[in-house]
């Protein structure tokens, strides 16, 4: 027994998580890919089989209609484009807010750093859904922000914020901010102080040494943080569903509607496949940066 373990132990240890991931992570994508070539049917499950036996012969029925439909109906192209746009700008805003925070945390004294870091992580542990929900009460027309602004007299009529793209931006930046801060922080703590001292000794101003030393060295952290925000934000469903309006187009919401409301599984699969193709490059880029770091 122990001889057997010695010989095959390594392979067994690798095989257990490997098989789990292949079956429950990799294989499902192929199933989605397969069903994206099927036709919708009134059956359970509601799509036609690709392969069937007819008179002892294998019959293959593949249709590209679902993809053609994605291309022809402008809704989908628009939704993809608007998802990229929303994810892109949210990422930029998260970076602009997250970078100074990560910088200050990384430079703080030990005790202060631990407390600040805990404050960044804490929201991450509380329910995502409830944090998005919290913004409904803030952004509503009769919500907290409008009540406050009306009271101090900055505005005379409430601003409509909920169910707009603005609310979606706020929601994404808010919920994904810790994902931006943490990799940036991890990168910025590694910064070698002697480099900054050298820059200072050579006469560089604080701003100059930030721009020429700190910022270029933190690029891997910036990329990691941006990818952790951008990629999941593209397929975001909860935020546009709760904070966005009926004309907020995001591909995650479109896929959800296609699946749950229209019950068109093949088209939903085609939408998912197209989204995956869109995400493959950024995911691969992120992995390369992560491995180099």
């Amino acid at each position: 027994m122990s001889g057997f373990l010695q010989k095959y132990g390594r392979i067994i240890v690798i095989a257990i998580p490997m098989i789990w991931l292949i079956v429950f992570f990799l294989l499902p994508f192929f199933v989605v890919f397969k069903i994206s070539f099927a036709e919708i049917a009134r059956a359970r499950p509601p799509y036609t089989p690709l392969f069937s036996w007819e008179d002892g012969r294998l019959a293959i029925s593949i249709t590209f209609d679902n993809y053609a439909y994605l291309w022809e109906d402008t809704l989908y192209i628009k939704a993809y484009w608007s998802s990229i746009k929303i994810a892109f700008w949210s990422t930029i805003f998260a970076l602009l807010i997250g970078y100074p925070m990560a910088y200050v945390i990384a430079r703080a004294s030990d005790t202060k750093r631990n407390i600040l870091l805990m404050l960044v992580i804490l929201p991450f542990w509380t329910s995502f859904l409830l944090r998005v929900y919290a913004w409904i009460g803030f952004l509503k027309t009769e919500g907290v922000i409008n009540a406050f602004l009306l009271k101090i007299g900055i505005i005379s009529d409430p601003i409509i914020m909920l169910q707009t793209d603005f609310a979606v931006y706020v929601g994404i930046v808010y919920t994904y901010l810790p994902f931006m801060i943490l990799p940036l922080y991890a990168n910025l703590t590694k910064l070698d102080d002697t480099l900054l001292e050298a820059a200072h000794d050579l006469g560089a101003s604080k701003l100059m040494s930030f721009l020429t030393v700190t910022l270029p060295l933190s690029i891997p952290g910036i990329i990691a943080g941006c990818m952790l925000v951008f990629i999941p934000a593209i397929g975001e469903f909860v935020i546009p569903a709760l904070l966005g309006g009926p004309d907020t187009l995001m591909i995650g919401k479109v896929l959800w509607t296609e699946f749950f409301n229209n019950r068109d599984w093949p088209v939903a699969s085609a939408v998912a496949t197209a989204m995956l193709v869109l995400l493959v490059l950024p995911i691969m880029w992120m992995r390369r940066v992560a491995e180099e770091a």
Binding site: V13, S127, G143, M275
Partner: protein
Amino acid sequence: MFFRILTIIGFAFLYAPIAGLIFYSFNASKLVTVWGGFSTKWYGELFQNEQILGAAWISLKIAFLSACIAVILGTLAALIMVRFGRFRGRTLFSGMITAPLVMPEVITGLSLLLLFISMQALIGWPVGRGTTTIVIAHATFGLAFVAVIVQSRLVDMDQDIEEAAADLGARPLRVFFDITLPTIAPALVSAWLLAFTLSLDDLVIASFVSGPGASTLPMVIFSKVKLGVSPDINALATIMIGMVAIGIFCATLVMLRTGRRKPNHE
């Protein structure tokens, strides 16, 4: 400095909505912005809501099981990544444990559901969908988060003790259980808690792979929240946030205490 002011604004941005939620959960009035006096009636109503209590119980069961599976598989995955060197399929393997971290939930949910349906048609398992399928789905993405946490702990860990044990003739399994496991135990606890929290929180994937009779807490919350703000959800949120805050507070205390004790031992 300029960055400091931005940081304070940033933290205000992170905490204001949570503070608002807690504040208004004690509001007697049903209207959000109208303060109708202090009241705990929404908490009372919450504990009489059978639907929410039932869903919470289902969610806790799923989170417990999936976190356990995720920790076992994720720890193995981390060990493989850090200690096993090169092997065939390593690139594929590392890809499969990083991709779930960023994969949009709608894709994971849809693809797993279609897999479960195909599997049922082919091999007759899993029969229907419900808690089992949700546990599998949550364990799969929890695994990736566990692997990240355990990997960073393993990288930091002093390998000399493991090597010493091996040199003294301990078998790999013995080295793992006697030395590696106790050393990484704190990381395993936080990884388990993270997997547990993520599972408890998931709406999208659970909605796809769930079946009749298995509505999780986020699914019930979502169906209520879609209609707008409701005071009993504020109360529920406050309880959940309070539990997390207490948990993190205790964890930090333990960490600070062990951190302080360490220098004396060395």
